[in-house]
């Protein structure tokens, strides 16, 4: 099936027929050890789906424990503080790395990116396959870390030293965190390889006429995220290496002098390090990482809003620039995670300024999204709705960003649920909405079928309500002082205990909302399975889209010649108030008459 990855009508492209095929030819060879980018992309999506399912269950367990701490889990017994922290850690690591990094960047990146630029395949198919397997191995290692003696890692997705650097520091700081380190190192290597592949593909394999200015914004987002990956994951790898040395080779890069762990003064070796060093290295990676997670969603939102409102994307060139600018500024803001960590106050101010500066390109994006749909008459498909939801969540979550970016305010808000609310709205929920949007939009390309729109709408409304009901109140509990990473809010014996106890009613509401949000996803799963089983076949270009992945017969046209691109994406000709799509691949000479097209020609 590696022969012609493009064929949507043939078995190569469709998920449904892969299932059928599996009975006949050697399925392992064909679908697991494949170098076909579409098959690999689908593997990434399955991996992300598995991770998101596990991650969601873990988060529900967290909520259950926070609200009803005395409850005993079946097959487990009482939930100890370290169990709660283990849930936080595995949940965060799964969601951020294995869902929000793999699915938009590598999953849809593989499935869609080559066709969007008119390439037949990725630049390095073998490396592509290897990077998937490295990442799959990383997932296995991460999940296995829960079952080792000493318990699951409990350091959160940020693994702050000194506790993470001292194996004897407590439960989970032994083999558990070693496996966590190994998993993240593997993940970093796999992601770097896949990013290199993606970058070279875009630079080298664009089809004729696909100039930089005509690349869809999704592609711009993918390559910006790829550049960030290459820069950031390498630094993370160095940081992980140093942490490993601290743990096993008696160094003290992150261990300060006079470090007292569990009541014992650590004396072995020289102690001249500082946990602050880890924070610098980690967040130099960590902040770009959160943009890697969201950039593809931003690009897709622009394209989908344009497509369904039959408008060209407002300020297309500027949107390219803001994508790159967000990527660039994203490298300069890491210190905003460290305001209360003992950072030099002047550095704090500098990071505060650069952080607020990043709100400018972000706001430009929001303006472009709004301007694109302003007074248009869009068709409210599920994909479009989820993109609208993305915009909404991005605004809501983005508003708390500049608040957190004030060092003074962050003194109070850091490590409270306010931050949890911020990043769940702007990253987790917006990212997931972007993924849903992508799924509904591109499903005809993945499986040759369209997902059910009615179920999709129920899914959308439920998810939007659930997302807001879950994460908006967290601002309030955070402002009331609820800290992150606390296993228990009740039976704390002092004034702080009273304070926390007062957030309990709200917390109970959050938990119910979380269950509602998770329950709504069952509608999506049902939709997915029903559609795969007996959904309606889709027409070649069901959304009347303009980008190249929807070219009706890429493989067959001109005896397999690659298509030629003539204009920017989302161009429309307006005749009698009707917008007619001008796909990128239609030769202007073949257009019946070219009255008021807004296409750009002659630009190379």
């Amino acid at each position: 099936m590696s022969q012609s990855p493009y064929l949507r009508r043939e078995s190569a492209g469709t998920l449904a027929s892969s299932v059928r095929l599996a009975g006949r030819t050697s399925p392992i060879r064909c679908h697991l050890f494949t170098t076909d980018h579409r098959a690999i992309g689908r593997l990434y999506l399955w991996l992300a789906l598995l991770s998101v399912a596990i991650g969601t269950i873990l988060s529900l367990l967290m909520r259950l424990h926070l609200t009803w701490p005395e409850r005993v889990l079946p097959f487990h017994g009482p939930v100890l503080p370290e169990d709660y922290l283990a849930l936080v850690t595995i949940h965060g690591t799964l969601m951020l790395f294995f869902v929000l990094t793999t699915a938009p960047q590598s999953g849809f990146g593989n499935l869609i990116l080559p066709s969007q630029i008119g390439a037949r395949r990725m630049a390095f198919p073998l490396i592509n396959a290897v990077s998937f397997w490295v990442i799959a191995a990383a997932l296995v290692v991460l999940l296995s870390s829960t079952f080792v003696p000493g318990g699951s890692p409990i350091s959160g997705w940020t693994a702050y030293p000194p506790l993470s650097a001292v194996p004897s520091a407590g439960p989970g700081q032994g083999t558990g965190i070693d496996l966590w380190l190994a998993s993240i190192a593997l993940f970093a290597i796999g992601s770097t390889m896949s990013s290199i592949n993606q970058l070279v593909t875009v630079v080298r394999m664009r089809c004729e006429g696909m100039t930089w200015g005509r690349l869809p914004l999704t592609v711009w987002a993918w390559i910006t995220a790829s550049m960030l990956s290459i820069l950031a994951f390498s630094v993370l790898l160095a940081a992980l290496l140093l942490l490993f040395c601290d743990r096993h080779l008696a160094t003290s890069f992150y261990l300060p002098v006079g470090d007292v762990v569990n009541g014992t003064l650590r004396a072995a070796g020289s102690h001249n390090g500082s946990p602050l060093l880890w924070l610098h290295l980690f967040w130099f990676f960590g902040h770009p990482e959160v943009y890697i997670a969201i950039l593809p969603g931003m690009g897709l939102t622009s394209m989908i809003l344009g497509n369904f409102s039959r408008r060209r994307v407002f300020a297309y060139r500027t949107m390219i620039t803001t994508t790159l600018l967000i990527g660039f500024l994203g490298i300069l803001v890491w210190g905003h995670h460290m305001f209360v960590a003992g950072l030099n106050p002047f550095a704090g101010t500098a990071f505060s300024i650069s952080t607020i500066a990043i709100a400018i390109p972000a706001a430009a994006k929001v303006l472009s999204w709004l301007a694109t749909i302003w007074r248009s008459r869009p068709s409210y498909t599920t994909a479009f709705l989820f993109s609208l939801g993305f915009v909404s969540l991005f605004i809501t979550g983005g508003l708390s960003g500049p608040i957190l970016a004030q060092p003074i305010l962050d003194q109070y808000l850091h490590n409270t649920f306010f931050v949890v609310a911020h990043f769940h709205l702007i990253m987790a929920m917006a990212g997931i909405f972007g993924l849903f949007s992508a799924t509904y939009y591109w499903f005809p390309l993945l499986a040759n079928r369209t997902l059910h729109e009615g179920l999709g709408r129920i899914h959308f409304v439920g998810s939007l309500l659930g997302a807001y009901a879950t994460f908006l109140p967290m601002h309030l509990t955070g402002l009331a002082g609820e800290p992150r990473h606390y296993a228990q809010l009740t039976s704390i014996p002092n004034a702080a205990g009273d304070l926390l106890a007062r957030t309990l009613p709200l917390n109970r509401g959050i938990t119910w909302a979380a269950f509602f949000l998770a329950g709504t996803q069952l509608v999506f799963l049902a939709n997915l399975l029903l559609t795969l089983w007996r959904g309606p076949r889709s027409s070649p270009n069901p959304w009347d889209a303009t980008t190249l992945e929807w070219h009706p017969n890429l493989s067959e046209s001109d005896f397999g010649l690659l298509p030629v691109v003539y204009r920017e994406p989302s161009q429309y000709a307006y005749q009698n108030g009707e917008a007619r799509a001008l796909p990128q691949w239609i030769d202007p000479a073949l257009l019946p008459s070219a009255p008021s097209t807004s296409g750009d020609r002659g630009v190379s």
Binding site: I196, L199, S234, L249, F253, L277, L281, G560, L562
Partner: protein, 256 residues
């Protein structure tokens, strides 16, 4: 039945898919620069399906350069930590400022190693240039033997030997330090000495693997293009490791 051969669709597909365009039959890239358009190799202006073999070489090179950019960030991170650690101190129980950093004496053999590594870069560059030497490429293209492999392989082999010599020299340096009882855990500065030399040595091991692959390719691969890619990428990687080493070595020698 007419005797003409009508190409079937798959045939046409095949000849035009750049997937299958492995450069066979087209003139492989050479070092000849005519500088103008109209050059037989002027692939950039052609649509993708008809691009020449140089494209494949360029693709691999570019992939390698992105990988090296990531690698550079890795070393930059470690070097930044080096400077942070060197200048970090703490106050002890008597409120005295303590900086535990004691510079690690550089074993003199490292100078020799550096020279060996630089020399190996020279031999590697000779091997790389050989791969694109125009008369040889043309000769091979016409099917007159395999002069490219014949002329390049000795230089690759020489690089391989010099690389192994460098690693042996590094091992010697570690041994000398160990005899002076300077170990990885001894002092902040020794952490870095070992960290930097070890990580660089691991990179060189990968490079040696690349050289062996290239050497094997020179004998086993029938396509000149593939051989050119193998040697070219191995060479750029090797040069980069040489440059990285020069900087890292200067750091260890003069900035401790």
């Amino acid at each position: 039945m007419p005797a003409t051969y009508t190409p079937s669709k798959p045939d046409l597909d095949k000849s035009r898919l750049h997937d299958n365009d492995n450069g066979a039959g087209r003139r492989p890239p050479t070092d000849k620069r005519t500088g103008g358009g109209g050059e037989g190799d002027n692939w950039q202006s052609r649509p993708q399906g008809q691009r020449g073999p140089r494209e494949r070489l360029g693709r691999y090179r570019m992939g390698l350069f992105f990988a090296l950019a990531g690698d550079l960030m890795f070393f930059i991170a470690i070097v930044s930590v080096f400077f942070v650690a060197r200048t970090t101190g703490h106050f002890d129980a008597y409120n005295r400022y303590i900086n535990e950093w004691l510079p690690t004496a550089i074993p003199p053999v490292l100078w020799l190693n550096t020279a060996v590594l630089l020399l190996s870069s020279v031999t590697m560059e000779l091997a790389r240039r050989r791969m694109f030497h125009e008369p040889d490429v043309m000769e091979e293209w016409f099917g007159l033997g395999r002069p490219i492999s014949r002329r390049s392989a000795p230089w690759v082999a020489a690089t391989l030997c010099l690389g192994l010599l460098f690693l042996a020299g590094q091992a010697l340096a570690w041994k000398q330090l160990a005899m002076q009882r300077v170990f990885f855990a001894s002092n902040p500065s020794s952490h870095f000495f070992y960290l930097i030399t070890y990580t660089h040595a691991i990179h060189l091991f990968l490079g040696i693997g690349g050289l062996m692959l290239a050497l094997w390719g020179l004998y086993a691969s029938r396509q000149l293009e593939t051989r050119q890619i193998l040697v070219d990428c191995a060479a750029w990687y090797w040069h980069s490791m040489g440059v990285f080493w020069v900087f890292l070595f200067l750091l260890l020698a003069y900035f401790q």
